[in-house]
Symmetry: C2
Subunit: 116 residues, 2 copies
Protein backbone atom coordinates (compact mmCIF):
# COMPACT_ATOMS: atom_id res chain seq x y z
CA UNK A 1 0.00 0.00 0.00
CA UNK A 2 1.37 3.36 -1.03
CA UNK A 3 0.17 5.88 1.58
CA UNK A 4 0.33 8.65 -0.98
CA UNK A 5 -2.57 7.08 -2.86
CA UNK A 6 -4.75 7.36 0.23
CA UNK A 7 -4.37 11.12 0.53
CA UNK A 8 -7.02 13.48 -0.81
CA UNK A 9 -6.30 16.22 -3.29
CA UNK A 10 -6.57 19.71 -1.91
CA UNK A 11 -8.07 22.54 -3.94
CA UNK A 12 -5.34 23.89 -6.17
CA UNK A 13 -5.41 27.65 -6.61
CA UNK A 14 -3.57 29.53 -9.34
CA UNK A 15 -1.27 31.02 -6.68
CA UNK A 16 -0.47 27.66 -5.05
CA UNK A 17 3.27 26.98 -5.03
CA UNK A 18 4.74 24.28 -7.23
CA UNK A 19 6.49 21.57 -5.25
CA UNK A 20 10.05 22.29 -4.17
CA UNK A 21 13.04 20.34 -5.49
CA UNK A 22 13.25 18.56 -2.14
CA UNK A 23 9.58 17.53 -2.22
CA UNK A 24 9.96 16.44 -5.83
CA UNK A 25 12.82 14.12 -4.90
CA UNK A 26 10.88 12.70 -1.97
CA UNK A 27 7.60 12.25 -3.86
CA UNK A 28 9.04 10.79 -7.06
CA UNK A 29 10.70 8.17 -4.84
CA UNK A 30 7.20 6.99 -3.90
CA UNK A 31 6.16 6.51 -7.54
CA UNK A 32 9.43 5.30 -9.07
CA UNK A 33 7.94 4.00 -12.33
CA UNK A 34 6.61 7.40 -13.39
CA UNK A 35 8.56 9.59 -15.77
CA UNK A 36 8.88 13.32 -15.50
CA UNK A 37 8.29 14.90 -18.90
CA UNK A 38 8.71 18.61 -19.58
CA UNK A 39 6.46 20.02 -22.31
CA UNK A 40 6.26 23.75 -23.04
CA UNK A 41 8.30 24.24 -19.84
CA UNK A 42 5.62 22.41 -17.83
CA UNK A 43 6.68 19.44 -15.71
CA UNK A 44 4.33 16.48 -16.02
CA UNK A 45 4.14 12.97 -14.56
CA UNK A 46 3.65 10.28 -17.18
CA UNK A 47 3.35 6.49 -17.29
CA UNK A 48 2.16 3.96 -19.86
CA UNK A 49 0.08 0.97 -18.73
CA UNK A 50 -0.26 -2.11 -20.94
CA UNK A 51 -3.29 -4.33 -21.59
CA UNK A 52 -4.30 -7.26 -23.78
CA UNK A 53 -6.90 -5.43 -25.87
CA UNK A 54 -8.29 -2.04 -26.83
CA UNK A 55 -11.36 -2.46 -24.67
CA UNK A 56 -9.31 -3.36 -21.57
CA UNK A 57 -7.27 -0.21 -22.12
CA UNK A 58 -10.45 1.87 -22.47
CA UNK A 59 -11.92 0.29 -19.33
CA UNK A 60 -8.82 1.40 -17.43
CA UNK A 61 -9.14 4.93 -18.86
CA UNK A 62 -12.69 4.99 -17.50
CA UNK A 63 -11.56 3.94 -14.04
CA UNK A 64 -8.94 6.68 -13.99
CA UNK A 65 -11.55 9.14 -15.29
CA UNK A 66 -13.88 8.17 -12.45
CA UNK A 67 -11.15 8.73 -9.85
CA UNK A 68 -10.33 12.06 -11.52
CA UNK A 69 -13.96 13.20 -11.34
CA UNK A 70 -14.11 12.25 -7.65
CA UNK A 71 -11.13 14.47 -6.87
CA UNK A 72 -11.91 17.20 -9.41
CA UNK A 73 -8.38 16.80 -10.81
CA UNK A 74 -8.04 15.53 -14.37
CA UNK A 75 -5.26 13.88 -16.37
CA UNK A 76 -4.84 13.38 -20.07
CA UNK A 77 -5.53 9.79 -21.12
CA UNK A 78 -4.10 8.51 -24.38
CA UNK A 79 -5.98 5.29 -25.10
CA UNK A 80 -4.53 3.03 -27.80
CA UNK A 81 -4.83 -0.66 -28.67
CA UNK A 82 -3.36 -2.38 -25.60
CA UNK A 83 -2.09 0.66 -23.75
CA UNK A 84 -3.02 3.82 -21.91
CA UNK A 85 -0.61 6.68 -21.29
CA UNK A 86 -1.65 8.70 -18.26
CA UNK A 87 -0.28 12.22 -17.76
CA UNK A 88 -0.83 14.29 -14.61
CA UNK A 89 -0.02 17.92 -13.99
CA UNK A 90 -1.71 20.94 -12.47
CA UNK A 91 -2.97 23.25 -15.19
CA UNK A 92 -3.59 26.15 -12.81
CA UNK A 93 0.01 26.33 -11.63
CA UNK A 94 1.53 25.09 -14.92
CA UNK A 95 3.51 22.41 -13.13
CA UNK A 96 3.46 19.73 -10.47
CA UNK A 97 1.49 19.90 -7.24
CA UNK A 98 1.33 17.25 -4.53
CA UNK A 99 -2.10 16.39 -5.98
CA UNK A 100 -0.41 15.02 -9.11
CA UNK A 101 1.68 12.59 -7.09
CA UNK A 102 -1.38 11.51 -5.11
CA UNK A 103 -3.25 10.82 -8.36
CA UNK A 104 -0.26 9.04 -9.92
CA UNK A 105 -0.05 6.75 -6.88
CA UNK A 106 -3.79 6.17 -7.08
CA UNK A 107 -3.48 5.36 -10.80
CA UNK A 108 -0.97 2.65 -9.89
CA UNK A 109 -3.38 1.28 -7.26
CA UNK A 110 -6.22 1.13 -9.77
CA UNK A 111 -3.99 -0.65 -12.30
CA UNK A 112 -2.91 -3.13 -9.62
CA UNK A 113 -6.52 -3.76 -8.54
CA UNK A 114 -7.60 -4.38 -12.12
CA UNK A 115 -4.93 -7.08 -12.40
CA UNK A 116 -5.50 -8.80 -9.03
CA UNK B 1 -25.98 11.93 -44.04
CA UNK B 2 -22.45 11.13 -45.14
CA UNK B 3 -22.65 7.86 -47.07
CA UNK B 4 -19.07 7.04 -46.16
CA UNK B 5 -20.08 6.59 -42.53
CA UNK B 6 -22.56 3.89 -43.55
CA UNK B 7 -19.93 1.69 -45.20
CA UNK B 8 -18.41 -1.25 -43.34
CA UNK B 9 -14.70 -1.68 -42.83
CA UNK B 10 -13.17 -4.52 -44.79
CA UNK B 11 -10.49 -6.73 -43.29
CA UNK B 12 -7.18 -4.94 -43.75
CA UNK B 13 -4.27 -7.22 -44.57
CA UNK B 14 -0.63 -6.22 -44.30
CA UNK B 15 -0.36 -6.41 -48.10
CA UNK B 16 -3.43 -4.25 -48.74
CA UNK B 17 -2.59 -1.17 -50.78
CA UNK B 18 -2.63 2.27 -49.24
CA UNK B 19 -5.13 4.58 -50.90
CA UNK B 20 -4.01 6.29 -54.10
CA UNK B 21 -3.50 10.06 -54.32
CA UNK B 22 -6.71 10.28 -56.31
CA UNK B 23 -8.70 8.35 -53.72
CA UNK B 24 -7.14 10.47 -50.96
CA UNK B 25 -8.34 13.65 -52.65
CA UNK B 26 -11.81 12.25 -53.15
CA UNK B 27 -12.15 10.82 -49.64
CA UNK B 28 -10.73 13.79 -47.72
CA UNK B 29 -13.33 15.92 -49.52
CA UNK B 30 -16.00 13.88 -47.71
CA UNK B 31 -14.50 14.60 -44.25
CA UNK B 32 -13.28 18.18 -44.76
CA UNK B 33 -12.73 18.97 -41.06
CA UNK B 34 -10.16 16.22 -40.55
CA UNK B 35 -6.46 16.97 -40.72
CA UNK B 36 -3.87 14.75 -42.28
CA UNK B 37 -0.89 14.40 -39.94
CA UNK B 38 2.29 12.59 -40.88
CA UNK B 39 4.14 10.96 -37.97
CA UNK B 40 7.14 8.70 -38.51
CA UNK B 41 6.30 8.80 -42.23
CA UNK B 42 2.81 7.43 -41.47
CA UNK B 43 -0.21 9.40 -42.71
CA UNK B 44 -2.95 9.71 -40.13
CA UNK B 45 -6.40 11.34 -39.97
CA UNK B 46 -6.89 13.52 -36.90
CA UNK B 47 -9.59 15.75 -35.46
CA UNK B 48 -10.25 17.31 -32.06
CA UNK B 49 -13.80 17.37 -30.66
CA UNK B 50 -14.76 19.79 -27.87
CA UNK B 51 -17.02 19.24 -24.84
CA UNK B 52 -18.12 21.08 -21.72
CA UNK B 53 -16.48 18.74 -19.19
CA UNK B 54 -14.01 15.92 -18.72
CA UNK B 55 -16.73 13.34 -18.29
CA UNK B 56 -18.50 14.38 -21.50
CA UNK B 57 -15.20 13.99 -23.34
CA UNK B 58 -14.67 10.54 -21.81
CA UNK B 59 -18.23 9.50 -22.70
CA UNK B 60 -17.49 10.40 -26.33
CA UNK B 61 -14.24 8.38 -26.20
CA UNK B 62 -16.30 5.42 -25.05
CA UNK B 63 -18.75 5.78 -27.92
CA UNK B 64 -15.89 5.87 -30.42
CA UNK B 65 -14.30 2.89 -28.66
CA UNK B 66 -17.55 0.96 -29.01
CA UNK B 67 -17.75 1.72 -32.75
CA UNK B 68 -14.09 0.70 -33.08
CA UNK B 69 -14.71 -2.62 -31.36
CA UNK B 70 -17.66 -3.30 -33.64
CA UNK B 71 -15.50 -2.84 -36.75
CA UNK B 72 -12.31 -4.31 -35.28
CA UNK B 73 -10.46 -1.13 -36.28
CA UNK B 74 -9.07 1.04 -33.49
CA UNK B 75 -8.04 4.70 -33.22
CA UNK B 76 -5.99 6.48 -30.61
CA UNK B 77 -8.12 8.59 -28.31
CA UNK B 78 -6.53 11.44 -26.39
CA UNK B 79 -9.05 12.38 -23.71
CA UNK B 80 -8.49 15.68 -21.91
CA UNK B 81 -10.66 18.09 -19.92
CA UNK B 82 -13.22 19.25 -22.50
CA UNK B 83 -11.74 17.62 -25.58
CA UNK B 84 -10.96 14.39 -27.36
CA UNK B 85 -8.45 14.09 -30.18
CA UNK B 86 -9.25 11.10 -32.39
CA UNK B 87 -6.57 9.69 -34.72
CA UNK B 88 -7.23 7.02 -37.32
CA UNK B 89 -4.73 5.10 -39.41
CA UNK B 90 -4.13 1.50 -40.44
CA UNK B 91 -1.29 -0.01 -38.43
CA UNK B 92 -0.92 -3.02 -40.70
CA UNK B 93 -0.21 -0.96 -43.81
CA UNK B 94 1.46 1.93 -41.95
CA UNK B 95 -0.81 4.46 -43.63
CA UNK B 96 -4.34 5.28 -44.68
CA UNK B 97 -6.90 2.75 -45.87
CA UNK B 98 -10.47 3.46 -46.91
CA UNK B 99 -11.43 2.03 -43.49
CA UNK B 100 -9.90 5.08 -41.80
CA UNK B 101 -12.08 7.47 -43.78
CA UNK B 102 -15.15 5.35 -43.02
CA UNK B 103 -14.35 5.50 -39.30
CA UNK B 104 -13.57 9.23 -39.41
CA UNK B 105 -16.96 9.87 -41.04
CA UNK B 106 -18.59 7.65 -38.44
CA UNK B 107 -16.80 9.56 -35.65
CA UNK B 108 -18.36 12.77 -36.99
CA UNK B 109 -21.80 11.10 -37.02
CA UNK B 110 -21.39 9.97 -33.40
CA UNK B 111 -20.33 13.48 -32.36
CA UNK B 112 -23.32 14.98 -34.16
CA UNK B 113 -25.72 12.47 -32.58
CA UNK B 114 -24.39 13.20 -29.10
CA UNK B 115 -25.15 16.91 -29.67
CA UNK B 116 -28.64 16.54 -31.22
Amino acid sequence: MNNLSQESCEACRADAPQISDEELKQLIGKIPDWNIEVRDSIMQLEKTFRFGSFIKALTFSNKIGEAAETEGHHPTLLTEWGKVTVTWWSHKIKGLHRNDFIMAARTDEIFKQSHD
